[in-house]
């Protein structure tokens, strides 16, 4: 479902060119539950930005659900983000002046869905993450774990192909982190693809596939190893 071939990306810092992704090859299938780990500076955030169509890449090939993601207009990019990807951020990124339900309904607003249907759908997803009773609360009135649940409900609301979560437990205590991971697991059990970027081992190990990044390259990927093993045999 996600197909990356020799993805390269560099940033220009003054006169120097800093190569952040040095040729990433990656295949993620439908319904997978993947963790990407790496030190800071390993390129994992850049990789996530490329995957999330938040940033462009210099060369290589990126296909998302069979659609080539290359040289998109800003408008197309926005449409693909809305249709394909559900984002979950470390700091939740909920709009502080909108209540839980309105936050969840926001991606649907950009799909042009009417208010009534939008709010109904938003309530369904809030219920799914166990926050139906909190729908009228502002983010400031909710705990960190609750905010992250609202953010996950928002990511789900547009029925994306994949959930991209950037350090989703980074701002949470360990108990809450476990709950959130539990939520991701149950979503994955329903067949939703989940990709989590993290630097915490215990979070990464709860995922079904762990990809390690180092210096802009994939250092370890069990899928590759199996393939390589097959090849050797």
């Amino acid at each position: 479902m996600i197909e990356l071939r020799d993805i390269r990306k560099s940033y220009r810092i003054g006169p120097r060119k800093l190569e952040v992704l040095k040729g990433i090859d990656l295949h993620i299938g439908k319904g997978e539950f993947v963790a990407i780990m790496g030190q800071s500076g390993s390129g994992k955030s850049t990789l996530l930005n490329v995957l999330g169509i938040l940033d462009e890449y210099d060369s290589g090939l990126y296909e998302l659900d069979g659609v080539p993601i290359r040289k998109l207009s800003a408008k197309q990019a926005a449409r693909y983000r809305n249709a394909f990807i559900g984002f979950v951020f470390q700091s939740f990124n909920l709009l502080p002046f909108k209540n839980a339900m309105e936050n969840v309904a926001l991606p649907l607003y950009y799909q042009g869905i009417g208010r009534k249907e939008r709010n109904q759908t938003a309530m369904q997803y809030l219920d799914k993450v166990g926050l139906a009773d909190w729908s009228t609360h502002l983010p400031s009135e909710l705990s960190g774990g609750q905010n992250q649940r609202v953010a996950i409900a928002r990511a789900l609301a547009s029925k994306p192909k994949v959930i991209l979560a950037d350090e989703p437990t980074g701002a949470l205590d360990s108990t809450t982190s476990k709950e959130i991971m539990g939520l991701f697991e149950s979503l994955n059990d329903e067949g939703i693809s989940v990709l989590i970027v993290t630097h915490e081992d215990d979070i990464a190990h709860r995922c079904k596939r762990l990809i390690r990044l180092k210096d802009g390259l994939i250092e370890a990927d069990p899928a590759l190893e199996t393939q390589a093993g097959k090849h050797l045999r």
């Binding site: 955030s45 850049t46 930005n49 999330g52 938040l54 940033d55 800003a74 408008k75 926005a78 449409r79 983000r81 809305n82 249709a83 984002f87 951020f89 470390q90 700091s91 990124n93 909920l94 709009l95 002046f97 909108k98 926001l106 991606p107 607003y109 950009y110 799909q111 042009g112 009417g114 208010r115 928002r154 547009s158 950037d166 350090e167 980074g170």
Partner: protein
């Protein structure tokens, strides 16, 4: 693209504005104040103009006032410092020889002699006038009648008394037909005159008594004498031209040097009127200039605050974009917010300004004629509408730069966690 009248867009925008009350309020304040000042200043300017025009409307604008002084230049063997007396034949000559004179009214006066009636006494100025006075000066008959041509021809001993004279000498009693004693001569009251002028100026008229000039000439040994005179020029001729000819004629008749600026004095009301009109054109221009400046400051304020808030909203914009907002929708959002804000606050300012003007108008109406040169503050509704339209455009303009900035926000950077 969803259309402009999409209810969802409006409610989304209104809720965003409504949830940031302080920000919205502060942004709005600049525009509210700007257009409020514009309306109030224009109204005040218009009131000044209305006030002045109202004062002028009481007079015949084509009036010329002419009097004489001592000469200041020796001429034809006559020394300087000679006084120049006016006579009835001067009036006749002007009437005969100057083209364009409509009415001419010679005048005389006695300086505040004692006037008595049944033991009551007052000192009022006594003016010898013709029937033309009421057609030239803002004096109208309140009771009875004014001096008539027959009064003048028969040199009748009749007088018209000013409002204040009536109050002092007669109180609540009817003055009609009563007799007053002035310098040993009895005169019968035929009318009461009332000044249309405002404030202190009206007292000058109301504290006078008017008698036929011929009566005054024959009664007080001033035969043929004229103190000064007022005349009106036919509407189609410029007063200044007639004024020049008239003064030249008097100088010739009284052997006054043509270059003597002092001997023959004259005042041209039309010229004064034109001066005032020039002043008000200037005032209008200044008011417009200052108002547009104030408004521009308000609009730049909107742009400025929008720019700052856009910076504060980078994360919000980033989130919206990550959730599928197109650049266009972000630009439209910022633009529409700015337009809506300027339009609504402009409207509030407009209504507040018009409210203040209406209030001022009411106060002025209650004060009546006692307030001079300030009357009926008002603004042109057409101008207000144009101003509001300009505001909407300006709002779009003010939002344009911030909106472009917002659209250019780089997603990967804005969403980055600290």
């Amino acid at each position: 693209m969803r259309n402009l009248f999409d209810m969802d867009r409006w409610s989304e925008m209104l809720s965003t504005l409504g949830k940031h009350k302080l920000r919205t309020g502060l942004t709005a304040l600049g525009v509210v104040w700007g257009i409020f000042m514009l309306v109030v200043m224009m109204g005040a300017g218009k009131a000044l103009e209305n006030g002045a025009m109202y004062e002028f409307s009481k007079w015949n604008v084509k009036s010329l006032f002419v009097w004489t002084n001592r000469t200041t230049v020796p001429y034809k063997g006559l020394q300087a410092g000679r006084s120049v007396p006016l006579y009835m034949n001067d009036i006749q000559a002007i009437n005969d020889r100057i083209e364009g004179i409509d009415l001419i009214s010679p005048r005389l006066w006695l300086d505040a002699p004692a006037i008595t009636h049944k033991g009551k006494e007052g000192a009022f100025s006594v003016r010898g006038e013709t029937e033309a006075l009421v057609n030239i000066e803002p004096v109208r008959v309140a009771e009875g009648r004014f001096i008539s041509p027959r009064d003048l021809a028969e040199k009748r001993k009749v007088i018209v008394i000013g409002q204040r004279v009536k109050d002092v000498l007669f109180g609540e009693n009817d003055p009609m037909g009563e007799y007053l004693l002035i310098k040993g001569v009895w005169f019968q009251v035929i009318g009461v005159a009332k000044s249309l002028r405002t404030g202190d100026d009206s007292r000058e008229d109301d504290e006078s008594v008017f008698m036929p000039i011929t009566t005054m000439q024959y009664t007080y040994n001033l035969i043929d004498r004229v103190g000064w005179f007022v005349c009106t020029v036919k509407p189609e001729l410029p007063s200044a031209e007639v004024q020049a000819k008239l003064v030249a004629l008097l100088k010739e008749r009284h052997k006054v040097a043509p270059e003597d600026q002092q001997a023959i004095g004259s005042f041209n009301l039309e010229q004064e009127f034109q001066n005032f009109q020039g002043i008000f054109t200037g005032i209008r221009f200044i008011v417009l200039f200052v108002s547009i400046g104030t408004l521009a400051a308000g609009i730049i304020g909107v742009g400025n605050i929008t720019l700052i808030t856009v910076r504060e909203r980078y994360r919000e914009i980033g989130v919206r974009k990550a959730l599928g907002a197109t650049n266009g929708s972000i630009v439209r959002m910022i633009l529409a917010e700015s337009v809506l804000l300027t339009a609504i606050s402009g409207y509030i300012g407009l209504v507040a300004g018009i409210g203040v003007l209406a209030l001022a108008d009411q106060v002025l109406q209650q004060a009546g004629d006692s307030v001079m040169f300030f009357r009926q503050p008002e603004i042109d509704l057409g101008f207000a509408v144009v101003a509001l339209c300009c505001l909407v455009l300006a709002g779009a303009f003010a939002g344009a730069i911030p909106a472009r900035q917002a659209a250019a926000v780089h997603l990967a950077i804005t969403l980055k966690d600290e």
